[in-house]
């Protein structure tokens, strides 16, 4: 029953997140477990249009910035090549994430295999507050030789 409910929620959410000009994350509804699970179901990198997984990621951060299930899920794929774009979204919005999750998520982004992606993450992370513990990792540009 819960699974079916989540599928229905995900269907509506997919349509809302498909809008070319976007949708406010607040318009997606109350920050309930159903919304969270519906959004998590849409973060698959194969989802189309591309605004669906990207918007789902963004709205999870905005609406559930301290939710352990959301944060641990994001942390689980921050270093994956097929999620590099989503990881960049997380990095760009990291200042909105509950403070204790920022360093683990940042470290995940910095574990991307491709040095070009690690550098993209680094230049954005240097502006994020609350990453004092990993400053040495952010101070020098990532170059291919460091791979």
């Amino acid at each position: 029953m819960f699974f079916l409910l989540s599928m229905a929620v995900a269907g509506d959410l997919r349509h809302m997140l498909s809008q070319r000009d976007g949708v406010s994350c607040r318009e997606l509804g109350e920050a309930t477990p159903e919304l969270r699970d519906g959004l998590l179901a849409l973060t698959g990198p194969e989802e189309l249009p591309s605004s669906v997984p990207m918007g789902a990621t963004s709205c999870l951060i905005e609406r559930f910035p301290a939710d352990p299930l959301v944060m641990s899920t994001l942390q689980g794929w921050m270093g994956q090549k097929e999620r590099a774009g989503q990881a960049l979204v997380v990095v760009s919005m990291l200042g909105q994430v509950e403070a204790s999750w920022r360093v683990p998520l940042a470290l995940g982004a910095l574990s991307q295999e491709d040095p070009a992606w690690r550098e993209r993450m680094r230049v954005r992370l240097v502006k994020v507050p609350g990453l004092e513990g990993i400053e040495p990792l952010l101070s020098e540009p990532v170059v291919a030789a460091q791979k």
């Binding site: 349509h15 997140l17 498909s18 809008q19 070319r20 000009d21 976007g22 949708v23 406010s24 994350c25 607040r26 973060t43 698959g44 990198p45 194969e46 989802e47 189309l48 249009p49 591309s50 605004s51 997984p53 990207m54 918007g55 963004s58 709205c59 905005e62 090549k81 097929e82 999620r83 590099a84 774009g85 989503q86 990881a87 960049l88 979204v89 760009s92 919005m93 070009a116 992606w117 993209r120 230049v123 954005r124 502006k127």
Partner: protein
């Protein structure tokens, strides 16, 4: 918008009767500027309205007027009167209408931009004296009198409303011009975008530069000071497309235009913002389908800036004011009839395989584009 879905109610304390405004004296000071445009400075009357005189020069037939409140307060356009006092634009006809013609009539911020004619059927202007009536209002949307405003009036010849040239400046947010994944995709996307617009008779001239703003862009409206200072440096009438990582102030989107139509004067929202990472998708790399999405997004958002609305809004109860875009009333009917239109509100994709191209534009949509002042 990104369309500005800004249907804020204008509930005047002392609503002027239709037509009264035209009788009142305009006052104010007009100054001709070296580039052929003119500026006007004046103040709203005690009733909170101001009639701005617009003299259309010989041979000119298209005008764009951007009116600003330097004090940062709110205003909107109420009427645009013909040389004989006929209201060509009457805000009350459109305000509660299911059809959208121009955002100029909505109270949004301290800028209102009117481009006339909007549609081919509105008819070209001719030499003579027109009047643009604007209203200054307070935060409760009641008329507010004795408020200084400044207007920029630009006009041009329209020899053929089926062809014209549009100047675009693509401005990369800080650091993105140096990222080859981004710049390569944007340049390929622009070439594709040129093909899409060429079919409407709009030829594009594009140049690339950088803008000193954070790649995490704010909403294009209200925008930011950096957009205004960037536009102040421009020497030509260009539409600015800012490429950023994302546009994520509580919204999630591919892109967003700073107005329908957008202004050709410096303001915090004289831009179209586009999120490259949303187009690239979860893996952050551009497939050919992702480049198409980027091209269509730039074309769609600039389409808003040129004055086009979605042929139908999601919800299927609001439409553009064009007679040749179908007035469909359900998701299936609209996707069937309008799903290939560039201005359709959302991409239509076969789940997890591919998205259909959305590049078509009707004759009347092409007319709106060509009648934008910046499409010369």
């Amino acid at each position: 918008m990104t369309m500005l879905l800004l249907l804020l109610a204008c509930a005047p304390e002392n609503e002027a009767k239709k037509g009264d405004s035209f009788q009142e004296s305009a006052g104010g000071d007009s100054v001709e500027l070296p580039d052929g445009s003119s500026s006007y400075s004046g103040s709203s009357g005690r009733d909170g309205t101001l009639q701005i005189p617009i003299h259309i020069e010989k041979d000119n037939s298209v005008v764009q007027v951007s009116v600003v409140r330097p004090d940062g307060g709110l205003l909107s356009t109420e009427y645009f009167y013909d040389t004989d006092g006929t209201a060509l634009l009457d805000w009350e006809e459109w305000y509660d209408s299911p059809y959208s013609l121009t955002d100029a009539i909505y109270v949004y911020d301290n800028l209102t931009t009117t481009n006339w004619p909007v549609r081919i059927e509105d008819g070209l202007l001719k030499e003579g004296d027109y009047i643009l009536s604007v209203a200054t209002v307070n935060k409760n949307y009641n008329y507010q009198g004795d408020i200084p405003v400044e207007a920029t009036i630009m006009q041009r010849v329209e020899k053929d409303p089926t062809e014209g040239k549009l100047k675009i400046v693509v401005a990369y947010a800080t650091g993105l011009a140096e990222d080859p994944v981004v710049s390569t995709a944007v340049e390929a996307g622009v070439e594709r975008w040129k093909e899409i617009y060429a079919a409407t008779g709009v030829a594009m001239e594009v140049r690339y530069t950088s803008i000193d703003v954070d790649p995490a862009l704010p909403d294009s409206a209200p925008g930011q000071d950096g957009y205004k200072s960037f536009y102040e440096e421009l020497t030509e009438k260009e539409v600015v497309v800012v490429i950023g990582d994302l546009i994520a102030n509580d919204r999630w989107l591919y892109g967003e235009a700073g107005g329908v139509p957008g202004a050709l004067v410096a303001s915090n929202r004289s831009v179209v913002g586009v999120s490259w990472i949303t187009c690239a998708g979860a893996d952050g790399e551009f497939s050919s389908g992702d480049v198409e999405m980027l091209a269509e997004t730039m074309a769609h958002e600039v389409g808003h800036y040129l004055g086009m609305y979605h042929p139908v809004e999601d919800g299927y109860e609001y439409w553009d004011a064009l007679s040749d875009t179908v007035e469909c009333k359900s998701q299936s009917a609209c996707e069937d009839k309008l799903g290939k239109n560039l201005m359709f509100p959302y991409p239509i994709c076969e789940t997890q395989t591919r998205c259909n191209q959305q590049t078509e534009l009707s004759e009347n949509q092409a007319g709106v584009m060509n009648l934008y002042l910046g499409v010369e």
